[in-house]
């Protein structure tokens, strides 16, 4: 445990979870994220897929960072990312075809996910392999946290279940819960993310107020 706390990569791993979350703070990777969260299972699969691609892209770009000519680095990065996505897509179609069906085009859209390109450009281009791996894993987990929270809320209130298992018995099955169909539509994703961002801001403000050393930020 002590070793882990002293680990040099702790910051890369933990910061993106809350303080520097890729979705709510860095505003990266929203595009393909929100459309897959109408149920929990696709959200989890999508999280794993993005985390794998992110780690692969960060490691390979970090390995190649000295060999890449500056002028064509974007093309190389896109090719590396697209190759990783192709592998992930083939694996999903081979082993979990039902979920690949639900995710449809959104697996392919990881190629243009700003989160992956953003992290390779901002971090892996300037840092070593292990630090980049940690950064990729950390940001992947930060992304997963938001996806899983949003996915749980939407599935629980939208269809009264979690991972397809009934939690709240719906009226259609003789229970008491009336599913909120809005939760299954796209607008609810926006509202839930907005509330999450609000909560995180409020949390950040409380923390700033508590630490006397940090200067209180002027309200805009």
């Amino acid at each position: 445990m002590v070793e882990w706390i002293m680990s040099p990569y702790r910051k890369q791993l933990l910061d993106p979870l809350l303080v520097n979350n890729p979705i709510t703070v860095q505003i990266l990777g929203l595009c393909s994220a929100l459309a897959v969260t109408s149920a929990l299972l696709p959200a989890v699969v999508m999280s794993i897929a993005v985390t794998c691609v992110l780690m692969f892209a960060n490691v390979t770009v970090s390995l190649l960072r000295r060999a890449m000519p500056k002028s064509i680095r974007l093309i190389i990065e896109m090719t590396l990312i697209a190759s990783a996505v192709i592998v992930v897509d083939q694996v999903l179609q081979a082993f979990v075809p039902d979920i690949a069906e639900i995710l449809s085009v959104f697996v392919g859209l990881i190629v243009t996910n700003c989160l992956v390109l953003g992290r390779t450009e901002a971090y892996a281009m300037h840092n070593g392999v292990w630090a980049s791996l940690a950064d990729g894993l950390g940001n992947g987990l930060g992304y997963s946290v938001i996806l899983i929270v949003v996915g749980s809320i939407r599935e629980l209130f939208g269809s009264g279940s979690l991972l397809g298992r009934q939690i709240l018995r719906t009226q259609a099955e003789g229970g008491w819960y009336t599913p909120n169909e809005l939760m299954l539509l796209a607008p609810s994703a926006f509202f839930i993310i907005a509330l999450l961002i609000w909560a995180m801001h409020a949390f950040g403000q409380v923390r700033r107020r508590d630490s006397a050393a940090a200067p209180v930020r002027e309200s805009r």
Binding site: A82, T112, A189, F191, A194, I197, A199, H201
Partner: protein, 202 residues
């Protein structure tokens, strides 16, 4: 309504890329502070999308699809898995051409779009359009209609959103909700409105 018109209308409203599939959100949130810039970006998206979807359609149909290479004597080849790399390459090339064209003939618009024109390369709405075209098995005419309709819908959404944002600058908003939080809430209401148009265009 049937045929191409139905595809255009459906792609613009009920299946709006930004508000129903949440694609292109990064650009959507970042370039929507002023209506004028949003309008320019919307036009750029319409230009790029109306070109890339049909071009990608032709490439997919005659090079990548299973059995598409029949004319080259390699009917057993199925290169569908290459579509991500190829589509991104085609989009990048077309964006580059469009950029050079704008720089030469419309320098003001080119200046206003700035970094966001090259960023269209990694805009999920553009790649998403091509991937939806493959998934829904559109033919050439339909992909022209879909490319134009989906881009016009995206442009409509960002222009509406920018106009709302210009007005919201004068309102009193709870502190934690300012900025991104409010942007999401407003987009949510906008999406709710568009969801009400479901069923339009059959």
């Amino acid at each position: 309504m049937d045929g191409w018109l139905a595809i255009v209308v459906r792609a613009m409203f009920a299946e709006n890329l930004a508000l129903a599939y949440l694609l292109g959100m990064c650009t959507f949130l970042a370039v929507s502070n002023r209506v004028a810039t949003a309008l320019g970006l919307g036009i750029a998206v319409i230009g790029v999308q109306s070109l890339t979807v049909p071009v990608n359609h032709l490439i997919y149909r005659y090079l990548l699809e299973a059995g598409a290479l029949d004319w080259a004597g390699a009917a057993e080849l199925d290169l569908t898995f290459l579509r991500f790399i190829i589509f991104v390459g085609v989009i990048a090339a077309l964006v580059q051409i469009l950029e050079m064209f704008l720089e030469r003939f419309l320098p003001n618009l080119h200046h206003a779009l700035g970094i966001y024109l090259p960023l269209l390369t990694v805009n999920c709405a553009i790649l998403g359009g091509s991937l939806f075209m493959v998934q829904r098995d559109y033919d050439l005419g339909e992909s022209v209609a879909y490319g134009f309709g989906s881009a016009a819908g995206w442009a409509l959404a960002i222009i509406l959103f920018a106009a709302l944002r210009e007005r919201l600058r004068y309102s009193d908003i709870p502190e934690g909700l300012r900025g991104l939080g409010l942007a999401f809430t407003v987009t949510g209401f906008l999406a709710l409105g568009f969801a009400g148009l479901r069923g339009l265009g059959g």
